[in-house]
Symmetry: C2
Subunit: 488 residues, 2 copies
């Protein structure tokens, strides 16, 4: 187990100051050119040395005919070349003194016996030069905190706290936008490809030590170094949550994985056992992987599994309660003191059972502060789950009815929506030990919800997703405590 992030062979790959780039040209429709353009678009501040046999300038950067011509030894080589010349190129890099690389090119083990032989050759060259590399057949890395994104899709989103180590490159480059829409961002995302030199276990170790990463997510088709995986994971989960999606378990998933990266998969139950043993939370789908990551990265440790559901609509409340039952979360009765405190703020028709159903808002401002504040003060409450109908649509209508101009209505609606969101957010400071989560059927991009997401309050599009994520947080900490007790 590494003690510091800089001990990891991944450190210079994830934090390079200078990059030799093979395979980019001024022909845009080549993969290499596309990847270099993403890197430039995000504003990477290090040096980039394109290597090209004929072009003198590549995408505005001075290009070099061979790696030997580059005036310094770059920290990292990114290789996006035809399979046939990859081995020679890595050898050249080694001769130059480069010790870290990303081999994006495919056509190796995943392509059959001939490719497997070629991969052996690549591995031998790397060993000879003491090179550690990601790939081949991968998309490399995105370290958004360093504005490093040499992947095919531009990162149109801020950096965040989600680390990802993935046996699929797609889940790195294709999820930037998804994560942002759902209130997250990557810290560092790693695509391991065929894992010829650096594997998913190395990535896990790196992310465990990465200070920008609050939650580690894993997309797994098969793990080769099982013992090491368990050792590293066990060392990480007591201080940082790990969520894993394993798709090799079903017969169909296994076949798909085999043709994808050629990795070995095992029965579902074996992976289930390994994950449990390590305190890893298992997700069944990609949606769940990131739903859990959002909750684990933003919520404090709950004292228990007791949830109070706040709603002004019966159906969404009942649905949330049903989800709690299914996920092993309980709905405590409110204390008589809490009910007394609520009474002046809620309509006569309201229910002070749990779900607390206000039926309608006497004063919308109370919904976002006073009422949830009272609910969170209750000693029976470990977590709060609040249902949001977009207040925007109500504000808009009232202002419209008042005869206010359309532009001004939009402006004022946004202002009030942000104001409500900020009030709600302030509850996290008043109740720092109680997870606060929302759900809505409106778009997450509406002003109020978006503000909550940007502030770090998880809001989900379905109570089931919210509740499963809350249960994952509770179970993570429960398991962590039991692992600590076992170790003591």
């Amino acid at each position: 187990m590494i003690r510091s992030i800089s001990e990891s062979p991944l450190y210079p790959i994830v934090n390079p100051k200078s990059i030799a780039f093979f395979g980019a040209s001024n022909t845009f429709m080549r993969m290499g050119s596309i990847m270099l353009s993403s890197l430039q678009a995000l504003g990477f501040e290090g040096e980039i040395f394109p290597i090209h046999p004929t072009e003198k300038v590549v995408r505005g950067l001075a290009a070099y005919t061979t790696i030997m011509d580059v005036p310094k030894v770059p920290d990292l080589a990114v290789i996006v070349l035809p399979t046939e010349i990859v081995c020679q190129t890595l050898d050249d890099c080694g001769k130059k003194g480069i010790r870290h690389a990303i081999v994006v090119s495919g056509g190796f083990r995943e392509a059959g016996p001939e490719g497997a032989l070629l991969q052996k050759e690549l591995e031998a060259i790397a060993r000879r030069h003491d090179i550690r590399f990601l790939g081949p057949n991968c998309l490399g890395v995105a370290n958004l905190h360093l504005k490093l994104n040499p992947t095919p899709i531009k990162a149109d989103c801020p950096a965040g706290f989600v680390g990802l180590a993935s046996q699929s490159g797609s889940f790195i480059t294709q999820m930037f936008n998804y994560l942002h829409r759902h209130g997250m961002g990557f810290s560092t995302a790693l695509s391991v490809g065929n894992e010829a030199s650096i594997d998913i276990v190395d990535c896990l170790e790196y992310l465990g030590a990465c200070p920008d990463t609050k939650v580690i997510t894993l997309y797994i088709e098969g793990i080769n170094r099982g013992n090491k995986f368990v050792e590293i994971a066990k060392a990480i989960t007591p201080r940082k949550p790990i969520v894993a999606l394993y798709v090799g378990g079903s017969e169909t998933g296994k076949q798909a994985g085999l043709s994808h990266t050629g990795s070995l998969s095992g029965p579902n139950e074996i992976y289930d056992g390994i994950f449990k043993q390590c305190g890893i939370i298992r997700a069944r789908t990609l949606t769940e992987l990131f739903d859990y990551a959002l909750a684990l990265g933003t919520l404090p440790r709950p004292a228990g599994n007791r949830v109070v559901v706040q709603t002004h609509s019966g159906g969404p409340g009942a649905t949330a309660a049903d989800s709690c039952g299914r996920s092993g979360l309980s709905l405590p009765r409110l204390s008589p003191e809490t009910v007394e405190k609520l009474k002046p703020l809620i309509p006569k028709t309201a229910s002070t059972a749990n779900p607390v159903d206000m039926t309608f808002s006497k004063n919308p401002a109370e919904d976002f502060f006073s009422i949830p504040d009272i609910l969170l003060q209750d000693k029976q409450t470990d977590m709060l789950l609040a249902y949001f109908v977009s207040p925007g649509i109500f504000i808009e209508r009232i202002l419209g009815e008042m005869g206010i101009e359309e532009d001004l209505v939009a402006l004022e609606t946004d202002k009030l929506s942000i104001d409500y969101a900020e009030k709600f957010f302030s509850l996290t400071r008043l109740h720092p030990d109680k997870p606060i989560v929302g759900f809505t059927y409106r778009s997450l991009q509406e002003k109020m919800i978006r503000t909550l997401l940007d502030r770090g309050i998880p809001v989900y599009q379905d109570p089931e997703r919210a509740v499963r994520a809350m249960a994952a947080v509770w179970k993570y900490y429960e398991k962590r405590e039991s692992m600590k007790a076992d170790a003591a």
Copy 2:
């Protein structure tokens, strides 16, 4: 069982030509005013007679001091008044000759023993005048095909094919926007409230006969007329799918339902059994309820459960395959002829196993027509599931690189995206017997996906959701056939 929709007591409630509206005024912040404003906003073309004790004009409409003053007998009375005067008002309506009503007001059975007595009185008045009504404690009805929406939230979306009968009013008025974002719309949505006169079984019967409704969705907290429900459902499912969400099964869900509408719930297993017996598809969450509705309302009957997954990214393909395995769908091998036909269109690195992973697009236009067309021609293929990375982001970059102006880039990108979507959509005409479904991690509102949704191709935000919906379609038709065989 009714033979024609007009035999249903709901017919005049869902299709009124004239409405007496109680409880709206020129004070906007009253529930009645808000509901009348929604009705006006959607452009209801029938007559509306607001009844108000003092105001002569309500929201621009001539108002009447009492119902007796109205110059004709309206088809429907909508009552949004304080609890205390509801009984008297319904009695007045009866005297006027009105035979159908929606009682929105709460404070009846759901409010405790006193409210229960009041509800008995209301029922007696209705019986005396031969009145059938929805509610009390409901939000009534939205019939978007008739521009009828007297619910608190404006319908910002077109009409569609989803019928809903709900024991929660929220799921009617709060889901307009949700359904539209996901590619659907309501035909008719009914909120039953306390079911004093018309219950969810009557609604089911109505929706079964409603020609605009292609799929029926039910939100159930508890059913009282169990035998009748089974009889009606069994008569409907052989020709129209029913999807049901039941939340009364868990202890927490049961309690929530009780305080919501005071309805009786029973153990989960009993409802499971009833649903199975009737050929009703059960959804576990609201997301699933409408995911299934989208697939059942748009897809043809598949000949079997064999899915071909088309992707250009390994991870999303493997994840989709894993979901298929979990949902009982199989992934057949492609025939040698299909593989031969594909070869010229796909890169050397592509996998012609299933998932068919192109790894990248040689020509994006082929991804949306020729390749899926070949896959659908294969006799082994019963259904196609295609993964969409938004082509928009690639087109945008290429046009940007070509030095084209930003505005023009956006315009051309939209044009090409629509073009791809139309090509893909044309496959449904070439292969009318094979369900075609998509999934993406991009926003459903991006041009290409939005166009597909508007054309009636279901696209989901996760392969798991897509696959579960496809499995629901397959199971629905399997069950339907077995029920027909049993009946024969």
